[in-house]
Symmetry: C2
Subunit: 660 residues, 2 copies
């Protein structure tokens, strides 16, 4: 058994759409779902170009001032994998066998399909393919067709085809139709509303020939898609060699070796593989909530990038981290315009977006999550701390300042301190509350950071005093009687959710209960106060009390939840519990625990599984360029071996249960 090879035996749900997601390939620009070579009803092929979207007006049942105006939907471009095949003019086939082997070490997918006619003529379809990390315009395929038990006329046609399917069901609010009628002019395609274009350079293959039993037809195809009109013409072999080399480099500095659990080992590599694949590299694209593997969440970028994905990149792939942060710098003007439109100073980043404009059509669980401003600042700070790349921060300091200004205007000073009202924290089962603990803590950290930065750069020194003062006086709610950190001003006053009488099939709650019913109860979708406890130093006894209070109220209906609870359980020394949470996060998509991996991977959770290992079991942190670890290994894991890059220096770390 090779822990870098993922096969169908490794996955819990072998539905066609699930396979298409899990075995999808991507290179940060292009993403390709592993759809069936011969079209099938249940198949949902997909080729996505990161940041390529179509826009259309959002229709509201009842509109109001300042609502997001346009949807942005990542377009499903083509089907580049399907083949038209006939044997002696018979073109109906039964798929009698399928084997798939994703070689994560090399970044190459190897598939074999046996197709059979009614008469029993069987053809073997072998495909090796990859989205090139060397030339990010390329999806490369090498095809072998072998006549297993017949001789006859074989006709093969393989070319790019239009997409005509849609993932998901009408009701699910998390997925939208991504098929769009593009305007074609030669090899240029334009989305009519967004005006965005791309160019293609496609090989095609179309032949009819007599094939002897046992004979193999072989050919390669390169499909190129790019925002630029110019293409180079690389060879399959050259790209394949580069691909293997690039992946070798990747694993050398980003792998985590787990001794003790081979399924977990493969699970974590699967996660790192997808993280490396789907991250935008050009400063104008970012990391879609579902990577480049499916249509879920319309290819939008959320706070997931900063709070769940960037730690992995910052510690192991700082260049990618820098590119993802540059994206925020590039959309800062949109964030400034948004704050102004809403009547506030500074900048407010969009809750969900591709081009920087707010596209969340439900503000209580969208725009109201203003914590995104502080999340972004937090990631900039972490990047600086780990990489030592102070120049990047200094150059882009206006982002930190403008987002800090927003807090000063959105919040206000009262007798109780600096308060921030009418926000939604990470927990989307509680909305539009006052003084959400996570938000206030994050804003406080942000304001301190902005004040330090301004002082260092000798900029806005008068404002910096206000930022510091507001941070110092930040209101933090605490319930003296319960000795519990208040998630917000009203949370502890709410009616407890009746978990006892909520059958399992009523989860996730959001698909079965009206927001009013959910919001009025003590029930959490995901880590909220506990997420803040992962990030900040708080007396461990307090974290324990809060954990014991909030965890039983958490449904984990969000895929962003379990990994965080796992890290904090490690922090509390509850290794058994931490392992349980970690395991569910680490193999969430492999086992399809959320039930919707078919719509795309849960990228944030994949980043969360890295946090679970590195922040959790290894207890990693960095202060002043010094790495410290704490050994929180559960009994199931004998050792962890991984590399981090601190201020340009690669350090291999081993956490070993024998040395605990």
């Amino acid at each position: 058994m090779n822990d870098f090879i993922l096969t169908l035996e490794d996955i819990g749900n072998r539905s066609v759409q699930n396979i298409e997601t899990l075995f999808a390939q991507a290179n940060g620009a292009l993403g390709v779902r592993a759809s069936l070579p011969i079209k099938a009803k249940e198949s949902t092929p997909g080729i996505f170009l990161n940041a390529f979207y179509e826009s259309h007006d959002i229709v509201y049942g009842e509109n109001a001032y300042g609502y997001a105006k346009q949807h942005q939907t990542m377009v499903n471009l083509f089907d580049l994998r399907s083949i038209e095949l006939s044997i002696d003019d018979v073109s109906e086939f039964l798929l009698v066998d399928q084997s798939v082997a994703l070689d994560m070490k090399k970044g190459i997918l190897k598939e074999t399909y046996l197709y059979q006619t009614k008469e029993g003529k069987t053809i073997e379809y072998r495909l090796e393919s990859f989205t090139s990390h060397f030339d990010r315009t390329v999806y490369a395929q090498k095809i072998d067709l072998k006549a297993l038990n017949f001789s006859g006329e074989v006709e093969v046609s393989k070319k790019a085809q239009k997409i005509s399917t849609k993932q998901g069901e009408d009701f699910d609010p998390r997925i939208k139709d991504a098929s769009v009628e593009l305007i074609q002019t030669g090899n240029k395609y334009t989305a009519p509303n967004s005006g965005l274009s791309f160019y293609t350079h496609f090989d095609s293959y179309d032949k009819k020939q007599y094939v002897e039993e046992g004979q193999t037809l072989s050919f390669t195809q390169l499909y190129q898609i790019s925002r630029e009109a110019e293409f180079t013409s690389p060879s399959y072999e050259e790209l394949e060699a580069k691909q293997i080399a690039i992946f070798a480099d990747f694993w050398a500095i980003s792998d985590i070796e787990i001794d003790g659990d081979r399924h977990l080992q493969k699970g974590i590599r699967f996660n790192l593989y997808h993280l490396f694949n789907s991250a935008g590299r050009d400063g104008h694209s970012n990391f879609c909530a579902k990577g480049l593997t499916g249509e879920g969440y319309e290819g939008h970028y959320f706070w997931d990038t900063e709070m769940y994905l960037l730690p992995f990149f910052i510690y192991t792939q700082p260049e990618i981290a820098k590119s993802l942060l540059s994206y925020r710098v590039n959309i800062l003007p949109k964030a400034q315009a948004r704050a102004k439109e809403l009547g506030f100073k500074g900048a407010l980043f969009a809750w969900r977006t591709i081009n920087g404009e707010e596209t969340s059509a439900y503000y209580p669980a969208g725009t109201a999550q203003v914590h995104i401003n502080a999340d972004i600042a937090f990631a900039f700070e972490l990047y600086e701390k780990v990489t030592g790349d102070t120049a990047f921060i200094d150059e882009n300091c206006e982002l930190i300042f403008e987002t800090a200004r927003f807090w000063l205007d959105y919040g206000f000073m009262s007798k109780r301190g600096f308060e921030i009202h009418e926000v939604t924290g990470p927990d989307e089962y509680t909305a539009l509350v006052n003084n959400n603990y996570y938000t206030n803590k994050m804003a406080q950290n942000h304001l301190y950071y902005a004040a330090r930065l301004a002082k260092k750069l000798k900029k806005y020194e008068k404002e910096a005093v206000e930022w510091f003062d507001s941070a110092e006086k930040m209101y933090i709610g605490f319930d003296q009687a319960l000795q519990i950190t208040q998630q917000d001003d009203s949370f502890l006053m709410k009616e407890p959710w009746d978990f006892e009488h909520t059958p399992k099939d009523r989860y996730p709650l959001l698909l079965h209960f009206h927001p009013m019913k959910i919001y009025k109860h003590q029930v959490l979708k995901q880590a909220d106060t506990i997420l803040a406890h992962m990030l900040f130093d708080t007396p461990i006894e307090q974290i324990a009390r809060d954990f014991d209070f909030y965890e039983p109220l958490t449904t984990h209906d969000s895929s962003l939840s379990k990994a965080i609870y796992g890290v904090v359980a490690s922090k509390l020394g509850r290794s058994e519990l931490a392992y349980r949470f970690f395991k569910e996060a680490a193999i969430m998509d492999l086992e399809d625990f959320q039930g919707n991996a078919s719509h795309g991977i849960h990228a944030a959770n994949m980043g969360g599984s890295w946090l679970g290992l590195i922040y959790g079991f290894a207890g990693l942190s960095v202060e002043n360029g010094e790495v410290t670890t704490k050994n929180h290994l559960p009994k199931e894991i004998k050792s962890l071996k991984f590399t981090v890059t601190i201020r340009g220096v690669k350090q291999q770390l081993v956490i070993d249960s024998y040395k605990k």
Copy 2:
């Protein structure tokens, strides 16, 4: 000057659309806007049939469980007023003079238009018309056309025409397109989605003839529209005589005579006239927010009926009141289904609806206004108290019980008492809060009423104990330091709105600021705590403190606000202030103070102006069949004379400043 005749001189805004609304006629079933006889671009003709709507799916930018599923939009049916005219084959005319006289005493509208060709040939178009209160299917017109300064060929064609215009602008969330393509089969018209039908019986007129200078062409037309297929064939003269008799009866028992201000006298009669005209009479229709005079709010029924309109009907037209309450009885099954869908026991009435199903597409200012349950119960209780019609209440007691059950499930018992969370009170500039004072007080009153009723009828006696107990323990928030009633748990903690830096053109705030910005501030759209103070006995010093606190925070952006502040100012003995509020309410549409009377009258405010006079200046109340009054007349009003019907007995009351 006759205070029953309304002319163009009496109104503040003489735009075409404003005139169409103010001089509109209706009979509870049919409503007809006073549109121009010869079509003009700015004209928006309208014929509405109460409760006749088309439905279509509500599209949400982001959907969620339990959202309202369908729009219901009152249909603008025909243009029954326009005429096609030519003189010697010239059919372009200039409108050179228009006079309009609404005889409110008789319920008849008299109009005269002078139309002129380019050559100066002038024709006088005189129209007397009414929507019959005797035969509610009929819109009757008597037309005289006089050749003023020419002899020639006059061609006249007058028939029902399709509607092709839409009121209002795209952005305004308060108005939707009401023109619908109906399916016609003979004289039967069907709205394709709702499946509702109506029948027509239309006269038409089409003639070309030579007319001598000074000669008059006269004809009458009856247009009949009905949900039933059968029509009677009344004569114009017969219907006119009945109309005059019916209006004489109406004024005899519903008029208010004001001595001291003729403009106000006319204003209040104008309001009573429209109230009488637009109220549904058949138990299946109700009172649209804009009456039957325009497309605003899509012809929907709100809590306006119970809290603003029913007092007038209960005290002066109890049969109409009974019909409006019967509508709620008829849609109770829909309210039960809605509560169940949301996951609660009992019944929850729709915030806005025609057929009983929720059609509010923005739940924070829709479904969350659960106080509508208690508002309806309050109206039933008032009806019983004033009319003594206990049989009606006993027969329909399930409505009171089912809506009470909802409170027990939606609220919960905590250490603080019985709490009701996640509601929106009357003030729509504050949403999704806990323990809104108005809601809790109204729910308390409702639960007491339900408990008394159950005890009397010996039904649900065990539940009745719980209802009583929850009412007794109802949590009422009070700020000890400020000595102010808390509008809700968080209101007094919010940041004050910056009124000083809000220019006048930024009102109403809802059209210029995002809900998040509005909700997080201390700012009110309308009376909230103060509305509760109008309804319940509270120590007068407390009312005064609350009034002085909340009134300066109130924008009165809702037309439901000023009348209530006026009544409470009277209660406080602040007659001058009361008069100022009352006056703005009483002539709100005549002077177009809200700026959108063109979309239809503000019916609730019209009912509010009755409250201002009768609850406010006359201090009327009834206990145990006994009327009491308190003389709160302001100096501008010398006396008030009006009639109320208490337990079937008409009582004329005079409030006289000399006897103060």
